[in-house]
């Protein structure tokens, strides 16, 4: 599995670690690379590619490696974008819609409660349908927006993978960025390209109290090796 390092990526180490802990082979792939070095799946990690001084991901989408990723996605290969990776996938039009400044215009770093809306994507096979999990999130531009037509398609074709949900008793606004329809993550119609804002790789170590995030990576590995989930 390839974890792409763009200039300004800053979550590649923990993403590699999470994949390896989940039992996968993973290597860093340079953004200048013209191919995927034989990887069966590509993960675009979090960070601030090129500083993200412009709209997040808007420069990274022009990186040389993106051509190979596009080709891989078109051939049905697995592509996962986390946080900045999700932003890049949207900017590259591998996923529809856009990630705008958070409502409130402040960076939002906090745990979020998410409902697994689909278990048949490349990385959610190790969850139960409708399961609610809590993992960290941290971004300034994570408010998902799309045209009414796209939103309708997402709902109709069941392309929403993760949604922010309220949990009983909590007095904290459950949708941290004002995303439309509480969307935290989506996939393409074929289900092989997935992007979301939360950071499962940051909660993949029992020493931190929970390793729930690891299941995204065990799910991905099982999918790649053809294990039914």
């Amino acid at each position: 599995m390839a974890v792409v390092r763009f200039p300004g990526s800053n979550c590649e180490d923990e993403t590699l670690r999470a994949v390896r802990r989940a039992g996968g082979d993973a290597f860093l792939l340079d953004y200048r690379s013209g191919n995927l070095d034989g990887a069966a799946a590509v993960v675009l990690p979090g960070g601030f590619s090129y500083g993200d001084y412009l709209r997040s991901g808007s420069i990274a989408r022009f990186s040389p490696v993106m051509a190979a990723i596009r080709e891989h996605a078109a051939a049905g290969g697995a592509v996962l974008g986390i946080c900045n990776g999700f932003q890049i996938l949207c900017e590259a039009h591998l996923l529809p819609g856009a990630l705008m400044h958070n409502a409130g215009r402040r960076f939002a770093s906090r745990p979020v409660d998410l409902r697994i809306e689909r278990t048949d994507t490349i990385c959610t096979g190790d969850f139960e349908q409708g399961e609610v999990i809590r993992i960290p999130q941290a971004h300034g531009e994570g408010r998902y927006e799309a045209t009414p037509a796209v939103l309708e398609t997402l709902e109709r074709d069941n392309l929403i993978v993760l949604r922010y949900v309220p949990v009983s008793g909590s007095d904290i606004p459950y949708n941290p960025n004002g995303s439309t329809a509480d969307i935290a993550g989506i996939c393409n119609p074929a289900g092989n390209v997935v992007g979301f804002m939360p950071h499962p790789e940051r909660l993949a170590d029992s020493a931190l109290g929970s390793e729930i995030g690891m299941r995204f990576f065990t799910g991905l590995i099982k999918r790649l090796s053809g294990v039914p989930t």
Binding site: C11, Y53, F107, R110, A138, G169
Partner: protein
């Protein structure tokens, strides 16, 4: 030494006159010393600029050196003490931790966003130039009251600046403190601390050596920003300071991230001899300090430095404080490797000088010699001052003053305290800081100390920054001890053993006797506490002249402390965990209210003697907490500080910032400290205390452990139901609060003042 060559003025440069000397903030004694050093010749303007930067308070410590020398700096755990870019302590298994705190107060006062952002950038560079990968950030922020619009503007800008920079570089913020007091109106404090991890054998120091080795500037181009920043930081803030805004540098965290990765590759691959950040006083201090530490000379060619605009003079290039630049010393045969690595990280690099054998600090531009100064004296030769120190009569009188009125009933008093911005939840602040990037965060902000797993080892670091400036103001010596004691309590509450400190000494104008008294006494207090706890001072920063037209700031010696938690899985959180757990108050309650938050926030009285700090008792408490954590006897532990027992109990019940539930509690204050007043029991701030929860079957073991360390463990009561009432009884009296109402007050105090301000005055 051979005869010193005579430099010539750079074309167009002003001649150095008395006025020009005064403009450079050099006094008559200092200028005399310069003339003597130069053999009687008048310096060129470039030379004068170089002297003014290195002989500023910020770089020379000319008012504080004799006091700073009294800090304990040695210990078995110290790998690198003061004098380098950052201090380094040994950890188990060949690991080490580099850490340092630094102020960026003056820039943040005039340009809060960039001032704060570049403060974070500078401290990160100090840590990664030791060969350490930055793994955590902390910050201490102090502002005037939020009912003033300007303070809200400064606060919002500073928080955003701190956040945006660290978030982009990808370093989690794991701790901090935010304090609001009138003394910081017009002179906010921004102290940033960085923590880095390295293998002990990868440590590199900023010591230039090897005659003929080359100097390479790496990173951003040099511009006209930040010229004279070090001098700016060494004068009082005045109405004219606003005009300094263009001198505040602009941060570029993306370049910083590239610089970080390139620097670690250069260091770990042994491509370079030495490295230093071009921080305060830029190229001047980095080159002069590295050369002086290595006992060599240096020649810089300013015409070879990549600049942002054409026509920059050597004076400007030497004094620019453009951010995200490094100076590295490289053996000639490795220059190509170094430039290749920099290019791969998309960084510019250029050879800008060489190491020489004559001990001179020379600057040439287009082949013309524009500066030639004896190098060692340039760095160490600034006259040292021993300012007069005398406590003011007003300060003495303040210690015996008491509040003019009686307090409200304790039920209301606690609500007022939880609503006080200094005590209230800082969730609004740290929600803007990435706290989990790198995937090593065990305890994130909102508790006593941050806890971070060290790579894939089984141990963790605990870290905190603390300073109760009100206590220091009222009694600088006891307050100074208290700062270290509070930091150590916070560390120990997580189960970690305190290892060492870095300090950021923020004071007013040292030329005022009452300010220098505060400085001297606070440092004496810090020294005594550090000796008692075996937590050496490994470095830090002095920020003086924090003085605006409204007066000096409260004396604020911020301490950043690192602790070692030997088993990462034994980390203890601050908040209650389960109904039915026993609540224990560890330590002696004497009801000391002098200097308390209760007097300050509820009775508007900053007066009295702060609680005296018993260092032995503090040490015993720390050892008790560490032992109790390693035996897994505690479910939570929280130190008692601002607001005393009542605030600590409320915080434990309110839960962590992201908790979905609160807990009630029932505590009985009878049969302990019976002579203490109700206010003293609830709100007194006696040191060496902590509030612990434990499953009932562990109470006996905790009490036995307490006896072993000479620390009382009073059983107070039980953790109550989810969302329940907090009830305290004493004799016939009973006070109760709704835990959910307290949570709302505690978490809404900052947002309501910032996002929904209601005019002026207290609301």
């Amino acid at each position: 030494m051979t005869t010193i060559p005579v430099p010539e003025a750079f074309p167009g440069e002003r001649p150095v006159t008395d006025d020009v000397v005064a403009e450079h903030k050099l006094n008559a004694t200092e200028y005399e010393a310069i003339l003597k050093l130069l053999g009687g010749r008048t310096p060129t303007l470039t030379e004068l600029g170089i002297f003014s930067a290195l002989w500023s308070e910020h770089c020379s410590y000319k008012h504080t050196k004799p006091i700073l020398r009294q800090f304990p700096t040695e210990g078995a755990q110290v790998l690198q003490g003061p004098g380098e870019n950052a201090g380094v302590l040994r950890l188990p298994d060949g690991w080490a931790v580099a850490f340092k705190i630094e102020s960026h107060n003056h820039p943040s006062a005039v340009e809060p966003y960039q001032g704060a952002a570049t403060g974070v950038g500078g401290i990160l560079r100090d840590v990664f130039t030791m060969g350490a990968r930055p793994v955590a950030l902390l910050n201490s922020l102090r502002l005037g009251p939020l009912d003033e619009p300007r303070n809200r503007y400064l606060f919002s800008g500073i928080v955003k600046g701190v956040g945006d920079y660290g978030n982009c570089v990808g370093v989690p913020t794991l701790g901090g403190e935010v304090v609001f007091a009138p003394g910081y109106s017009g002179n906010p404090l921004v102290n940033a601390m960085a923590v880095g991890i390295l293998r002990a054998d990868e440590l590199i120091t900023a010591r230039a050596h090897g005659v003929g080795n080359l100097l390479i500037a790496v990173g951003a181009r040099t511009g006209r920003d930040g010229i004279h920043g070090a001098s700016f930081a060494s004068e009082d803030l005045t109405a004219a300071s606003e005009a300094r805004r263009p001198q505040v540098q602009v941060g570029d965290p993306f370049t910083e991230k590239m610089l970080l990765e390139a620097s670690l590759e250069l260091i770990r691959g042994e491509h370079i001899v030495a490295i230093q950040d071009m921080g305060a006083a830029g190229l001047t201090s980095s080159s002069a300090e590295m050369a002086a530490r290595g006992g060599v000379g240096v020649e810089l060619d300013t015409s070879a430095v990549p600049t942002r605009e054409r026509g920059m003079t050597p004076y400007e290039i030497m004094l620019s404080e453009s951010q995200e630049r490094m100076l590295v010393v490289v053996e000639p045969h490795k220059v190509d490797d170094v430039i290749d690595i920099c290019t791969r990280w998309e960084l510019q690099s250029a050879v800008v000088g060489r190491i020489t054998d004559d001990g001179l600090f020379r600057v040439v531009h287009d082949g013309r010699l524009v500066a030639a100064i004896p190098g060692q004296e340039l760095v160490d030769g600034c006259p040292i001052y021993h300012p007069e120190a005398a406590e003011s009569g007003a300060a003495v009188a303040r210690r015996s003053a008491v509040p003019a009125r009686k307090g409200p009933n304790p039920v209301d008093a606690l609500k007022q305290l939880l609503d006080a911005p200094t005590i209230a939840s800082k969730r609004w602040v740290f929600e803007q800081f990435d706290t989990t990037v790198r995937g090593r965060s065990v305890i994130t902000p909102g508790g006593d100390a941050g806890v971070l797993r060290v790579e894939d080892t089984g141990f963790a670091l605990a870290m905190t920054v603390d300073c109760n400036a009100r206590h220091v103001l009222l009694d600088p010596y006891e307050g100074g001890k208290g700062v270290v004691a509070e930091a150590a309590r916070n560390i120990a509450c997580t189960g970690a053993s305190p290892l060492g400190i870095t300090d950021c000494l923020n004071f007013g104008n040292p030329e005022r006797p009452e300010v220098f008294f505060q400085f001297r006494e606070a440092c004496r207090g810090i020294s005594d506490a550090c000796r008692a706890f075996d937590t050496p001072v490994t470095g830090g920063n002095v920020s003086l002249y924090n003085q605006s037209p409204t007066g000096a700031i409260d004396p604020t010696p911020t301490v950043g402390m690192i602790g070692l938690l030997e088993d990462v899985t034994s980390a203890v959180p601050s908040h209650f965990r389960a109904p039915g757990d026993a609540i224990l108050l560890i330590g002696h309650t004497r009801g000391h209210l002098g200097g308390s938050a209760y007097w300050a926030e509820v009775l508007d009285t900053v007066a009295g003697s702060p609680p005296p700090i018993d260092l032995e008792l503090e040490r015993s408490l720390q050892q008790f907490l560490v032992a109790a954590a390693s035996r897994r006897l505690m479910n939570s532990a929280h130190d008692l500080s601002d607001g005393g027992l009542a605030v600590a109990l409320a915080e434990c019940c309110i839960g962590g910032p992201w908790a979905t539930t609160t807990f009630g509690a029932t505590v009985d204050l009878n049969a302990h400290a019976d002579t203490v007043s109700d206010e003293g029991w609830l709100f007194g701030e006696d040191g060496a205390r902590a509030l612990v929860s434990a499953t009932p079957e562990n109470v006996m073991a905790l009490q036995q452990l307490g006896a072993q360390f000479g620390i009382p463990c009073h059983y107070l009561g039980l953790v109550g139901d989810v969302g329940g009432e907090i009830e305290a009884t004493r004799e016939q009296r009973k006070w109760s609060w709704s835990s959910t109402e307290l949570r709302r007050i505690y978490h809404d105090a900052l947002p309501r003042r910032i996002e929904r301000p209601t005019g002026t005055g207290k609301d």
